[in-house]
């Protein structure tokens, strides 16, 4: 303490403005980010609204329910809409059990060896395969090998292959997210592994798995490349045709067909209305499944 300290630069102290450039850059950056963020999101949402605005007011039950017409005006989308859900449901029936079982394997049974690494790479690899490749695979399998032609069955199974990796990964992640304590508690009570999985892990992981199924369903509903290649662009032209071997053009495919190849005079209108239906159903599938999740998130945060 004996050393005499030089005076602190207390006098003439100032926290004045810094060099203008960095301040300007900061302002510019803030403006750019706000501007881009708002404009781009509004632009995309606005475009979708434009589509809805054209299609929605013209919608009617007759259109939703009616049979399509190749030549005259006033055709509906009944069979295509029906096929969309029919194909979707069959593909989910095929893919959900396999996907969930594979996910359980990865999360619960898999030893950490080379084999598991291979399985995981395959799941990731399969999830990156472009959808049109599943279409080509479907053609080779169903049209060429089994010779059943363009059918609902072929489309649904090809679509199921597309769904598989997503479901597997979501299941694995959801089960891994279950706290270890719950698992241990179940084992400590003398439950077998199977009982633990069925009574503890799956119910807790169900939330995550349901989200995965919803995402998959939304994607499968809107998928068109696979369907065009494996089910064709047309329908059997009848309503409630449950025959698995009928041609299975779905609504998404119908939009493309009407827009590019149809010769009906009101093709433009049909396309607009079909678009509106596609957007609304896709939004509904997503919203219906997600609302509970959002609410949950809110609750957990509060």
């Amino acid at each position: 303490m004996s050393v005499k300290k030089p005076a602190h630069p207390t006098l003439a102290y100032s926290f004045g403005k810094r060099r203008g450039a960095s301040v300007l850059l900061d302002r510019l950056f803030t403006g750019l980010v706000w501007g881009t963020g708002i404009i781009v999101i509004l632009f995309i949402v606005g475009l979708l609204f434009l589509l809805l605005e054209k299609g929605l007011p013209q919608l009617s039950w007759n259109f939703l329910y009616g049979l399509p017409s190749e030549i005259e005006e006033g055709g509906g989308i009944g069979p295509a809409l029906f096929n969309s859900f029919y194909v979707l449901i069959i593909s989910l029936i095929v893919s959900i059990p396999i996907g969930i079982a594979a996910g359980i394997y990865l999360a619960e049974f898999a030893p950490n060896n080379k084999l598991i690494e291979v399985v995981r790479i395959c799941v990731e690899g399969l999830s990156s395969v472009p959808s049109i490749i599943f279409g080509l695979f479907g053609i080779a399998l169903f049209v060429e090998f089994f010779e059943i032609g363009l059918t609902i069955l072929g489309a649904a199974i090809s679509l199921a292959f597309l769904n598989l990796p997503v479901l597997t990964r979501v299941t694995e992640e959801s089960i891994r997210a279950v706290p270890v304590e719950l698992r241990n508690a179940s084992f400590a009570l003398g439950s077998t592994h199977l009982q633990t999985i069925r009574r503890v892990l799956l119910p807790v992981a169900m939330n995550g798995i349901m989200t995965g199924i919803c995402l998959t369903a939304g994607r499968a509903f809107g998928e068109s490349a696979v369907i065009i290649l494996t089910a064709g662009v047309s329908t059997s032209g009848e309503m409630w045709d449950f025959n698995l071997l009928s041609p299975g053009g779905t609504l998404a495919v119908h939009l493309w067909y009407v827009q590019s190849e149809a010769i009906v005079p009101d093709a433009q209108e049909i396309a607009q209305k079909t678009t509106a239906v596609l957007i609304i159903v896709a939004l509904l599938i997503n919203i219906v499944f997600r609302v509970p999740l959002w609410l949950n998130e809110r609750k957990n945060k509060a």
Binding site: K5, H8, P9, T10, Y13, S14, F15, K17, R18, S22
Partner: protein, 251 residues
């Protein structure tokens, strides 16, 4: 002693919550001032008002006057980035950036417009020496900072703060996440630094406050209970609540 930092009737609200109540404290320059008190008593909050880090918290509102070197830091003329350049801060958890040791220390000077490899090299070495880390890392300054031990990371954070050449160093429980040996090294370091910097530290550890600080302020529920020379406060506390706290009866 001439006060360097002066707080006058300082009130701080987080929304409805009244976190600091009529705080008036004067902090001398080139000395270590310790803030002690139980968790949630507002001592860290007060520290963060000194470099206006509370600005980033939505809903935080400050009333009253905080002056550093005679200038009200909440007045309109003060540029918050320039203010923070003059006030280094070290946090509870060591928080080096996921970059190299060199880039961590050079980060601040680069922000403030210092270019030129030679100038930066000098600054980095000087800062690391001041933080007594130079000998341990000089062989490989390109190593990722996160490969250092916790104590080294904290000294790196001090070096990083010193590199912008501040006058004040704020330490927010800077040793609470460290082991005793690292803690000791940092305490030694602060002892060396106090001849050149005004240091304000928040600590949970009363022995630490007694060991390193010259002045101690005791807080309770957002209020200043007692402020005195450290030796005086620990030996002869005036307020019974201070007595209770330092003898370990609560907190």
């Amino acid at each position: 002693m001439q006060p360097f930092i002066e707080m006058n009737k300082l009130n701080l609200y987080y929304g409805e919550f009244h976190a600091l109540k009529d705080v008036s404290v004067q902090i001398p320059e080139r000395a270590i001032t310790a803030f002690i008190g139980p968790s949630g008593c507002g001592k860290s909050t007060l520290l963060r008002t000194l470099n206006r880090m509370n600005d980033r918290i939505p809903g935080a509102r400050v009333e009253g006057r905080v002056a550093i070197g005679g200038i009200d830091i909440y007045s309109g003329e003060v540029h918050v980035e320039s203010l923070r350049k003059k006030i280094g801060m070290v946090f509870q958890q060591p928080n080096p950036f996921p970059k190299s040791i060199y880039d961590n220390v050079a980060f601040g000077p680069k922000q403030h417009g210092i270019r030129g490899k030679k100038k930066l090299d000098e600054l980095v070495e000087q800062s690391l020496r001041s933080a007594v880390l130079w000998d341990e890392v000089k062989d490989d300054l390109r190593r990722p900072a996160l490969s250092l031990s916790g104590g080294q990371q904290q000294r790196l954070c001090i070096a990083r703060a010193l590199a912008v050449e501040p006058d004040i160093l704020l330490m927010d429980e800077a040793t609470s996440a460290l082991d005793p040996i690292s803690t000791f090294k940092i305490e030694e370091l602060t002892h060396e630094l106090k001849d050149r910097y005004t240091i304000v530290m928040v600590t949970h550890n009363m022995q630490q406050a007694a060991r390193v600080s010259q002045q101690t302020v005791f807080f309770l529920n957002g209020e200043v209970i007692e402020h005195d020379a450290t030796r005086q406060l620990f030996a002869n506390p005036v307020d019974s609540r201070t007595q209770d706290y330092i003898s370990g009866r609560f907190g």
